[in-house]
């Protein structure tokens, strides 16, 4: 009896998930069993996965070979620090989502619960597999499984035409991205025919081929992460799915794209050229700005969050790009800092984005309304959901002392203290990028105030909202778990930096641990004199002043309070419809960033009997990039249709000619 390694235990968790999915298959229609037993069990396994990954972070890489698949082509698996870290994020986030899902799925919604349970857990298993894969074959098979299972989850409500078309768009983009990744692996194996990652690491390709491999990886993983101009599927597919699935896709699945990019660029490729970093930096920056500007003008709450995911993926690309630039000039310490910021953001994004999507799920359940313009005032009927979502929104806005701020802080630190690089242009541009990142995060604050304020605050804009009910205990527990993640990431940065340290040590050979570990309450990547941030003291400071003010006012004066109707400058006829709508809240952004949008407006005139206001915001890429592409594809397809003659003998002749041509090729 050999000792079980962490990798074996993780495979046991995966096996557990597979068992659950089979059980879901068996009990297809038994909602109670699926919801209250299988999903919580899946959540528990997720927690176990997180714990195992945490334990495996420090250890040496563990290898395993699974004899599945084709003969003589087994699955190679490898658990190292990088994959352990991503498994930790997957496990921790998915356990919250699974618990939430236990209370979420109801009867009579599209796909049967058992089938959903199957797809959901296969999705989880494939994500874990992608992260563990150690050869291109296993990676691609699991990558495709991930795309397919999430496609079925997206189209859970397949009776709606728009859900079907969103799913179609999603699977198309996923295919295109997968082809690029496949080609990338083809380049990396350098003609040896050995597709294991170990072989790819050993190859020393020419710089031109390495760059081609890198660009293919950026394209392929960028398509998954929704980097411009490959983002169009994301705001369609993520909102179309049921909320726990949206949470899983936005919060967890997007991270696999980041994982893949890190694996290829920092692990498999032996070169690090500075212009690679510049490419990632530029693409990420444009994507982040685009995402946040579009998020702020959305009127559908789930679309808003999807655009916010695009923004965050852009920020992650910026971090990886900066890390690459530093690494290419041999500045390992700075590179580690930038990578640390990126990995920290991966964790906090997983927490807050899943939390926000789950919050919209509860709202959707209680009100069956996704349009921000028809919500409002839910903090009074749904306090649990409201306050937990508020935590997620504050984290998303990058406000101290929560998790989003720490990653932003680390990123800005690595931008500001970039030592002189040999390229003057880079020296000059890097601080400017920091300024743009500040703009992006401020806009994220704007977006989150809009998101939270319009949904939960104010007066209900529709009658039925007064009857909305708060989320059930399962849903609360799932959300609370993720909210705890947001708070913990915010308050204990030194602890989490030490968790991430093995990863940067593995990829870059440098870490922050020694310097950070010096003080327990201050996060100081270089020295306290240079920069430091102590979230606990920060929070204590605010709460202390808060409490002191509260007590002193009551001691010196009084605490009397009277309730009455709202004042509103003495205007007595105010109705809920006079509040700012989501469109209204986005109006300044629409005006400032007008060139970003393709807008269609219908403004009422003074004489309209039934005044109607309509504004539709679309994205230039669709019109100027995709439509021509689609037209081209259609045109080519039409050319092909000339082959279609409708007569059997013609088709037989095609086969005959093909046969002849093939024989000719084989002979020569």
């Amino acid at each position: 009896m050999t000792q079980w390694l962490a990798l074996d235990w993780i495979l046991a968790v995966v096996g557990g998930w597979l068992l659950i999915s089979v059980a879901g298959m068996v009990a297809v229609r038994r909602l109670g069993l699926v919801a209250h037993l299988l999903f919580p069990l899946g959540g528990l396994l997720g927690l176990a996965l997180a714990g195992l990954a945490l334990a495996a972070l420090e250890g040496a890489p563990q290898l395993a070979v699974l004899p599945i698949g084709l003969p003589s082509l087994p699955f190679h698996l490898r658990l190292d620090s990088l994959s352990a870290y991503f498994l930790l994020v997957v496990g921790a986030a998915s356990s919250g989502i699974s618990v939430f899902a236990a209370g979420y799925f109801r009867k009579g919604e599209g796909t049967a619960p058992g089938l959903l349970c199957l797809e959901y857990h296969v999705f989880l298993v494939s994500m874990v597999g992608v992260i563990l894969a150690d050869d291109a074959y296993a990676f691609m098979v699991l990558w495709e499984t991930m795309a397919l299972s999430s496609y079925f989850l997206v189209t859970a409500n397949h009776r709606l035409a728009e859900v079907r078309s969103a799913g179609y768009l999603y699977i198309t983009m996923a295919r295109i991205g997968a082809i690029a990744i496949l080609l990338c692996f083809g380049v990396l194996q350098a003609g040896t025919g050995d597709y294991t990652f170990a072989n790819m690491r050993a190859q020393a390709l020419a710089p031109a081929w390495t760059s081609i491999g890198f660009l293919l990886a950026v394209f392929g993983f960028g398509a998954k992460a929704g980097i411009l101009p490959l983002h169009v599927w994301l705001p369609e597919a993520h909102p179309a799915a049921p909320s726990p699935v949206s949470a899983l896709m936005s919060g967890v699945m997007l991270n696999t794209a980041i994982y893949g990019l890190l694996r290829v660029t920092l692990d498999l490729l032996h070169l690090r050229l500075w212009w690679w970093g510049a490419v990632l930096l530029a693409a990420g920056l444009v994507t982040a700005l685009f995402g946040v500007v579009f998020a702020s003008v959305q009127v559908d709450m789930k679309r808003l969050l999807a655009f916010s995911s695009i923004e965050n993926m852009g920020l992650l690309f910026v971090g990886i790009g900066l890390s690459l630039i530093f690494a290419s000039f041999g500045l390992q310490q700075m590179s580690a800092l930038a990578l640390m910021a990126t990995l920290y953001h991966v964790a906090s994004h997983a927490c807050f984005k899943s939390l926000l999507f789950l919050g919209t799920g509860s709202v959707l359940h209680a009100t069956s309304e996704r349009n921000l313009g028809k919500l409002g005032g839910l903090i009074r009927t749904m306090p649990w959901v409201a306050w937990l979502t508020l935590l997620g929104a504050l984290t998303c806005a990058g406000l101290p002392p929560l998790g989003g701020f720490v990653s932003e802080w680390l990123l800005l630190q690595s931008f500001l203290f970039a030592p002189a690089l040999p390229l003057p242009l880079l020296n000059m541009l890097i601080p400017v990028v920091a300024a743009v990142i500040a703009l992006v995060s401020a806009l994220a604050g704007y977006t989150m105030v809009k998101f939270f304020g319009v949904i939960f605050l104010g007066q209900p804009r529709e009658e039925k909202l007064a009857r909305a009910h708060d989320a059930g205990p399962w849903e609360r527990a799932g959300m609370a778990w993720l909210a705890c993640g947001c708070v913990a990431l915010g308050l204990l940065p030194t602890r989490f930096v030490q968790v991430i340290d093995p990863v940067t040590r593995q990829l870059l050979g440098a870490d922050l641990g020694q310097r950070v570990a010096g003080s327990s309450w201050l996060l100081a990547p270089n020295s306290t004199e240079q920069a430091s941030y102590g979230p606990v003291a920060f929070l204590m400071g605010i709460l202390g002043c808060f409490a002191l003010a509260y007590v002193v006012v009551r001691l010196l004066y009084h605490g009397r309070l009277r309730r009455g109707p709202a004042w509103a400058c003495g205007f007595p006829f105010g109705t809920a419809r006079m509040q700012d709508t989501a469109e209204g809240f986005g109006q300044p952004i629409r005006q400032i960033f007008e060139p970003f949008f393709m807008m269609r407006r219908e403004l009422p005139t003074a004489f309209d009997q039934r005044p109607r206001y309509l504004v539709v915001v679309a994205d230039h890429f669709w019109r100027w990039f995709y439509v021509p592409l689609i037209d081209l594809a259609n045109y080519l397809a039409q050319l092909m249709s000339l082959l279609q003659q409708g007569r059997i003998s013609v088709y037989l002749m095609y086969s005959f000619l093909t046969l002849l041509a093939t024989l000719l090729v084989v002979m020569s």
Partner: protein
């Protein structure tokens, strides 16, 4: 003390650039003239400081000339033109102002990058000023491009000359006196001619909008 004066020249250079930026983002004509006056005063001060540091006394003369021409005479002329033409209103720009400024930032980065290799060669007291001067020239050019009225274009032209003058003073300690006097006269004559020109345009088209000049081309 000796370390501080070159820094002071740098500061004045930065102020020049700041004023150039303020001019690109200014809508009001009156304020534009005030900014131009301030630019002239800053330039004169910078010239005098350079003269003091390098002990080249003819620079004092050219500083004095700058004061007389660009702080007193030309602004006075421009004010008179505005009074006679009766224009006090805001001017609209071709491109909106934040976009102009964004392009301006790009221009500044371009100019700075261009100047870095050159400034290592020159042994002038403040090597960074060349980039600033170049940026001033390009920004003034940008301002001339984005304005639709004749008066701001003239001011842009004059601001461009300021940038060139600053480059000459700070990077090469001034040109020979004769050249400087010649340039000063050129500018003055240029303003006079442009002033006459503006009256002509107004008489012809009843407005100073240079869109009307498009009608002058052959069809």
């Amino acid at each position: 003390m000796s370390a501080l004066l070159p820094q002071f020249v740098n500061l004045l250079g930065a102020v020049l650039l700041l004023l150039a930026f303020a001019m690109t983002s200014q809508r009001r004509m009156l304020a534009l003239i005030h900014l131009f006056t301030m630019q002239g005063a800053t330039l004169a001060l910078a010239t005098a400081v350079v003269g003091y540091v390098t002990r080249q006394h003819h620079l004092y003369l050219s500083a004095g000339l700058t004061v007389v021409l660009k702080v007193l005479l030309i602004p006075w002329l421009l004010h008179r033109v505005l009074d006679r033409l009766g224009i006090r209103r805001d001017v609209e720009t071709l491109i909106n102002i934040p976009t102009t400024m964004l392009i301006g930032i790009g221009v500044v980065i371009f100019a700075f990058n261009l100047s870095i290799p050159i400034s290592h060669l020159s042994s002038a007291l403040a090597s960074g000023t060349l980039g600033i001067a170049l940026a001033c020239v390009l920004l003034s050019f940008l301002m001339m491009i984005t304005r639709t009225k004749a008066v701001p274009q003239v001011i842009g032209f004059l601001a461009m000359e300021n940038g060139l003058f600053f480059a000459a003073t700070a990077a090469t300690y001034g040109m020979p006196m004769v050249v400087e006097l010649g340039i000063g006269l050129d500018v003055l004559v240029g303003v006079l001619i442009l002033g006459v020109f503006m009256f002509q345009i107004r008489e012809q088209f009843d407005s100073l909008d240079i869109h009307h000049l498009e009608q002058l081309k052959d069809d």
